[in-house]
């Protein structure tokens, strides 16, 4: 069963998890891969194949038990526990991220917030004090944290990532447009909205051209 699961599959699981938890909330008991697929614009075969990497959760002729599938995905994604998170960089974006309720609601506990600006250090965000980033590495050594979110200005991104990795953080979400170096044992994902816009403008400029042709 655990024979190298493709990364694309992993990347789809959170989407399945999100849908199935919504469906569970609606009180639905059973659902087919067809119906899941309709909702997500994915083929039913893909959903069945993806899930089959992890086990046989469905019942022939019936579909998937919503509760069962929810439980399994939770387990697979490691969401049967809480994860600790620090947010580094409390500018406008960091503030928004640090106070976004969607993290806590999904098991991600923001345990600390850091900044380097003396005007920001010591102020409150969401009722919690902002700490001095100079203490970050030391703090991480005393009480380790699972995940770091980086919302500092681009030029500090590498430095902050280095501190986080030295501090033993296992995963990093980088909101900075800078691509940073990092040990490959550490999970790192980038969120750069400009790249999204640019891949969309590619298509926009084509369809504009088609019109005139």
């Amino acid at each position: 069963m655990p024979l190298e699961i493709p990364e694309v599959v992993i990347d789809r699981l959170p989407m399945y998890y999100r849908l199935i938890s919504r469906i569970a909330d609606q009180g639905r008991k059973v659902i087919s891969s067809q119906e899941l697929g309709d909702e997500l614009d994915v083929t039913p075969a893909q959903i069945r194949k993806d899930l089959s990497y992890f086990g046989r959760f469905g019942k022939q002729g019936r579909g998937y038990s919503v509760q069962r599938l929810y439980d399994e995905l939770r387990l697979i994604l490691g969401l049967d526990r809480r994860w600790t998170v620090v947010v580094v960089g409390i500018g406008r974006l960091g503030r928004a991220v640090a106070s976004y309720p969607g993290f806590e609601g999904q098991g991600f506990d923001i345990v600390a917030r850091y900044d380097s600006d003396p005007n920001v250090i010591g102020t409150e965000v969401d009722g919690e004090l902002v700490r001095d980033v100079a203490h970050l590495e030391q703090d991480l050594k005393i009480s380790p944290v699972d995940i770091g979110i980086v919302t500092v200005p681009a030029r500090y991104a590498q430095e902050v990532v280095d501190v986080l990795t030295r501090g033993g953080v296992q995963a990093i979400l980088n909101y900075t447009p800078t691509r940073v170096q990092h040990p490959e044992a550490i999970e790192l994902k980038n969120i750069n909205p400009v790249l999204f816009l640019q891949s969309m403008t590619y298509h926009l400029s084509r369809s504009a051209k088609e019109q005139t042709e």
Copy 2:
């Protein structure tokens, strides 16, 4: 040449563009696919193949002219013009997005900001007034806008997307965790940080297990 270009290729172009503009800033004149690949963790063959979908920009034995490649990518991605953007939802995230200098710097002009909260409407963000979202559809009809960024609470996401599409917006960047319905002629990308964290926790919980085994 224009024989169906894979979407994965399009999605990599902005990354190439970003790198090449940085290299151009450094005053470098020529660069090889090998060097580009080292920087981006991509094989040189992939870079050459990707670029070859659009033309022959390199010089054998030399590499790519940085300036030439920059110009070509700009053109391919439709960045040889400015794009207009509205931000809908001026909460903490919307405020951060609306005042992020990275958009203007890359040719995306935020031309208007909307909210539904009477306490927010009429206030200033980055020196610009926030308008009433009730006027959005009408405003778009009078002066069309290319792109909409949605930073409203999740439950309003569909409604806002509907207004934007009726208003003739061509692309939407959805910061909401809600997956919305939309005409397929419209480009839509979702940014949901929780999904990123969840695909990372999948790996974290594995490597934790490996340790104990």
